[in-house]
């Protein structure tokens, strides 16, 4: 790497800074997590991370995050497509709306979503007669997580779509490809890496989300309790080691998933 870029000086300086920056911001705080957890015995550690309630919480956290990220892959792609391919009045406004979940404090988002989706809310009141309950159900967690994850997919896919040369599609059409064939064989392969990255970012963001979910989930143990809430519950009992143990368990599982995503996108 350094050989190829010799004409740009500063490799050592920038690498040194990178390492320093990552150490102070990420690695040192995270090592605290490991050290604090290490004060637990193995038996206690296992008891904390593998309790029935913790497992129900991981299942909800990972399941809802996965559902929300998949939802965003489909609909985020659609939004990115519309924004990249068409010009229409109000396009800039739509473009700006996509960033709202980045800008809004998540607690505000959580309160607003709960208000709208609870059974007397603007949307909830129409869903309830159909037997669909959103707020205070696992579905509500998915909705909140889809909200926070949306911009990640749109913002990673959009530039790739803008970069696609229309002439390639025209060429495909000239060579006799149908619309679906062009989409599947020409466009999609170029977009997939960005989609995978967007998916991974949205998924990771959703796993750690706390502020918006605690309002809409109802926080019922075993049913709608997310793993970050268990962590907060332990902190409230001044059980710092138990809290870091659950955090560590989540971190390990996410890293494994992350590695899986990397492997599939580099194939």
């Amino acid at each position: 790497m350094s050989g190829r870029n010799r004409h740009m000086p500063g490799f050592r300086l920038t690498l040194g800074f990178t390492i320093f920056y990552l150490l102070t911001l990420v690695l040192v705080p995270l090592s605290g997590l490991v050290f604090k957890t290490a004060t637990l015995s193995w038996a206690r550690f296992w008891e904390v991370i593998a309790s029935e309630r913790a497992i129900a919480a991981y299942r909800l956290s990972f399941g809802a995050s996965l559902g929300a990220a998949l939802l965003n892959v489909v609909f985020g792609f659609l939004v990115a497509w519309v924004l990249a391919r068409y010009t229409f009045p109000g396009r800039r406004i739509v473009d700006a709306i996509v960033d709202l979940p980045f800008a809004l404090p998540t607690a505000v988002a959580g309160i607003a979503l709960t208000y709208v989706y609870s059974k007397h809310g603007w949307i909830g009141q129409y869903l309830e007669p159909m037997g669909i309950e959103v707020a205070f159900r696992p579905l509500g967690v998915v909705v909140a997580l889809a909200f926070v994850g949306l911009p990640f997919v749109v913002r990673t896919v959009q530039p790739v779509l803008l970069d696609l040369d229309p002439e390639v599609e025209e060429a495909a059409a000239c060579l006799g490809a149908g619309r679906w064939q062009t989409f599947r064989r020409v466009i999609l392969p170029r977009v997939v890496p960005a989609l995978v990255t967007g998916f991974a970012l949205a998924f990771a963001r959703a796993l750690g989300e706390y502020g918006s979910v605690v309002f809409i989930s109802g926080n019922m143990p075993m049913r709608t309790e997310i793993a970050p809430l268990l962590i907060v519950g332990r902190l409230e009992q001044f059980d710092y080691a138990g809290a870091t143990a659950i955090a560590l368990a989540m971190l390990v599982v996410s890293l494994k998933r992350r590695a899986g995503v990397d492997a599939s996108s580099h194939r």
């Binding site: 309630r53 709960t114 007397h120 707020a135």
Partner: protein, 351 residues
């Protein structure tokens, strides 16, 4: 380097130096201003006291200025009681803590050594200026006819209460229900366990704090009855101007909630604010301080002030936490810790 470039560099360097000097001077001026007159007190409190302490602060500043000639400025911080205690433990340098339960101040004494273990004895009434209790808030007209504790566990009644695992106020709510069941069955613990478990099975949403539960009940229209602080219930049922959407129902008995106050010696000493901090807390126990409490629907501990506001506060039997659970520490261990009675409501199989 040619002459022009050199000139530019020295010029911009000089400009940089000048603006740096300006910033330093401004900073010095600001910090001088802070040191010259006003004493700054940091009061770390819990959620429902926001309006109360805003008024106390104004009255105390005036009082302290008249007495000592010093100006005092009070910074307020509010949040869940347990969260606030943890913030102080982790280094938030509060001069004063005014928290939801004694346990949260005990933690500061035991784990943080920030104040002596016998802090509660330094002020009257075991350092409790105002008390409160847990009551019911129902929808207008009380459509589900909720009058007593036993009505909460009736089929078809939805109860809104916060999560005792994450909220101090919620622990008072839980212990109010527990204490009632224990007393009404002459101390039969099996009955109390069954009642509390039954009650929490009627709770569709466990918010992480008392404010969250209020939002769920009042804004989102979920549930038939909210288990609430008396001061918050009085506030929502007596809102002037608009027709109240809620009514307060006073159960047959409830818990005497005693939120205590204390000076955090370590930080007050470091800031040199010990005198002001002590005076602030003593002010809460004066006639004036007690009257402000009553105005915000907190029960004054002073007999005379309470007598004057008798009409405001309903008569009901109040039991203390010591009567129904021994102490805060015992209650925490038995009910709220990992695998305690509260966890077993949701996981009957767990230890």
């Amino acid at each position: 380097m040619n002459e022009r470039a050199q000139h530019l560099t020295t010029h911009s360097l000089r400009r940089l130096a000048r603006s740096l000097a300006g910033a330093l001077w401004l900073g010095a001026l600001l910090s001088c201003d802070g040191a010259s007159g006003a004493i700054v007190l940091k009061n770390v409190s819990y959620d429902p006291t926001r309006e109360l302490y805003t008024e106390v602060n104004a009255a105390f500043s005036e009082h302290y200025h008249a007495q000592t000639g010093h100006t005092v400025e009070i910074l307020q911080s509010h949040g869940g009681s347990g969260k606030q205690a943890r913030a102080v433990l982790d280094g938030l340098d509060a001069d004063i803590v005014t928290l939801g339960c004694a346990q949260d101040i005990d933690v500061l004494a035991e784990r943080g050594q920030l104040l002596p273990a016998r802090w509660a004895e330094r002020l009257p009434h075991r350092s409790v200026p105002f008390t409160s209790t847990i009551v019911f808030l129902v929808r207008r007209g009380n459509p589900k006819r909720i009058h007593r504790w036993s009505d909460l566990a009736r089929p078809g009644v939805e109860v809104i209460a916060p999560n005792p695992k994450t909220s101090g106020g919620a622990r008072w709510v839980y212990l109010a229900a527990w204490g009632h069941a224990l007393r009404s069955s002459h101390g039969d613990e099996a009955h109390a366990r069954a009642f509390v478990a039954d009650l929490y099975r009627h709770v569709p949403v466990l918010d992480s704090g008392a404010r969250g539960s209020t939002t769920t009940f009042a804004r989102n229209g979920i549930g038939d009855v909210l288990l609430a602080w008396e001061n918050e219930a009085l506030l929502s049922s007596r809102r002037r101007g608009t027709r109240a959407d809620f009514e307060m129902v006073v159960p047959e008995d409830s818990i005497l909630a005693e939120p205590p106050v204390a000076v955090v010696d370590t930080y007050a000493r470091r800031h040199g604010t010990e005198h002001a901090a002590r005076s602030y807390l003593e002010f809460l126990f004066t006639e004036q301080g007690q009257a402000i409490g009553a105005k915000h629907y907190f029960r004054p501990t002073s007999e005379s002030v309470r007598a004057r506001h008798r009409s405001l506060f309903a008569e009901l039997t109040l039991f203390t936490i010591d009567e129904v659970a021994g102490s805060w520490a015992a209650a925490q261990a038995k009910h709220f810790d990992e695998g305690g009675l509260f966890d077993r409501i949701y996981q009957p199989g767990a230890r």
